[in-house]
């Protein structure tokens, strides 16, 4: 469904992605792990057309991702994204945030969109917060609204860019459990994360990215339990035992 082929990306003289290729099939959950600055988020942003890439090709359902082309709007309505800092619209309520895309972009009837918006907010456990503004919600609640907003577009896949990194530790669980439910329902997901527990339990496949290349990839159990590459071992060791 998503195909990334040998993409390269530089910010000025600094090459941050040095030839990365992978595919994501329908219904698959792929986690991308790796140290900060390894290019994980940049890859995700390239897939959604928020960032241009210098060479290689990314396609979604056979459509080439080109941020400069009108086709990107069509792609984005089918490929949602959830951000580290939630990025809700602060001047709109939870429900208004969720229906914004369906009503304004997909031209759905407002009544239908609101009906479905309520269902989605109920699904992420926020049926009591329909009319709350983002400023009055906790980080975990805001991120769940953002997930509902992503789902409202009826996407074929969702990209998650470190969705729990900006959250207080006690709020991480509520977001991860919503994501696990989505995975169990068969949603195609690409998740950049530092949550190894989530990766182990939910991911079908894990990519370990360092310095702009995929150092190692494999099934979640295989890569996380028996990493082959020294770098992967080292990274996992540091994440799991931060004080050693």
């Amino acid at each position: 469904m998503i195909s990334v082929e040998d993409i390269r990306k530089s910010f000025g003289p600094l090459e941050v992605i040095k030839g990365v290729s992978f595919n994501v099939s329908q219904g698959e959950v792929v986690c991308i792990i790796g140290p900060s600055g390894s290019g994980k988020s940049t890859i995700l942003r390239c897939i959604n057309g928020l960032e241009t890439y210098n060479s290689g090709a990314i396609t979604f359902d056979g459509i080439k991702i080109d941020p400069g082309d009108k086709s990107i709007v069509n792609v984005r309505t089918q490929l949602s994204m959830v951000f580290q800092r939630f990025n809700l619209f602060p001047h709109r309520t939870a429900l208004e945030n969720v229906i914004e895309g369906p009503v304004q972009v997909k031209r759905e009837k407002k009544a239908d969109a609101m009906e479905r918006g309520r269902e989605l907010l109920d699904k992420v456990g926020l049926s009591g917060k329909l009319d709350a503004y983002p400023g009055s919600l906790s980080g975990g609640q805001q991120q769940r609204v953002a997930i509902a907003r992503a789902l409202a577009m009826r996407p074929k896949a969702i990209l998650f860019d470190e969705p729990t990194s900006a959250l207080d530790p006690e709020l991480v669980g509520e977001v991860l459990s919503v994501m696990r439910d989505l995975a169990n329902e068969g949603m195609t997901m690409v998740v950049v994360t530092h949550e190894m527990g989530f990766a182990r339990e939910v991911a079908d496949r894990v990519l370990f990215l360092e310095s702009g290349v995929i150092m190692e990839e494999g099934s979640a159990s295989e890569l996380l339990r028996n990493p082959k590459h020294e770098r992967t071992k080292d990274f996992l060791h540091r994440v799991i035992n931060p004080l050693e």
Binding site: N48, G49, L50, V73, N74, R76, T77, S80, M81, F83, R85, N87, L88, F89, P90, H91, E100, G101, Q104, V105, K106, A146, R149, A150, M153
Partner: protein, 217 residues
């Protein structure tokens, strides 16, 4: 004192005619400068280098020339180029153009204050640039821009007196005319000053109210 009041009462209707024109000039130029200012501001934040350049050049020129000279130019020079405007039209266009440069800076600051993450999120649900401007940026920018906008209106109200120099019979001009025929400068210009205050003070309170209201949210 009663003499003073009697003379005031005599001048009052004439000065009120001036007030009407002052309000017309102020409202007209607030409207024009807001529309144009928004255009310059949107051009200033656009992706096109040409549009940004046009906007910056215009603002630099306008801000570098005294408003009174701009008014003279529009009223006295444009007719030589075949553009004939009434004094009132020239006044509104002149003040509107001059103030559009200041308004543009206000609006630009408001637009740029919106967090980039929200704009990315809007892109990620398929919103186009125009839709993002209308649905995400402007509704929030308005709140940020309102208090300085109030100040701009007050400044415009006072600067509307500049159009007296191109024969628009607004408040200041009416005052001058009465004073020069009666030599009663004290009465006339006291009344003129009080009438400006009567218009400006409510606006000042409104602006303070807006500042308080939007300072917290």
């Amino acid at each position: 004192m009663s003499d003073y009041l009697a003379r005031s009462a005599q001048y009052f209707p004439l000065l009120l005619e001036g007030v009407t024109l002052t309000i017309v000039v102020t409202l007209g130029s607030v409207f024009l400068s807001s529309i144009l200012g928004l255009v310059w501001a949107i051009m200033a934040v656009s992706k096109s280098r040409i549009l940004r350049g046009i906007s910056r050049t215009f603002i630099t020129i306008i801000r570098g020339i005294p408003i009174i000279v701009q008014l003279f130019y529009i009223y006295f020079v444009l007719p030589e180029l075949g553009v004939n405007l009434t004094a009132l039209q020239a006044g509104i266009i002149g003040l509107g153009l001059a103030y559009s440069a200041y308004q543009a800076e206000n609006f630009r600051a408001g637009i740029e204050a919106i967090d980039k993450g929200q704009i990315e999120a809007a892109h990620s649900i398929g919103m186009t640039d125009g839709l993002i401007m209308r649905r995400v940026i402007l509704p929030q920018a308005v709140r940020i821009v309102l208090p300085p906008f109030g100040n701009t209106i007050i400044m415009l109200l006072k600067d509307s007196s500049l159009v007296s120099t191109i024969t628009v019979a607004e408040l200041t001009r009416q005052g001058q005319l009465i004073a020069s025929s009666t030599f009663d400068n004290m009465t006339v210009f006291t009344l003129v000053a009080l009438m400006y205050l009567a218009m400006a003070v409510p606006l000042t309170f409104l602006t303070r109210h807006l500042e308080k209201r939007y300072a917290t949210s």
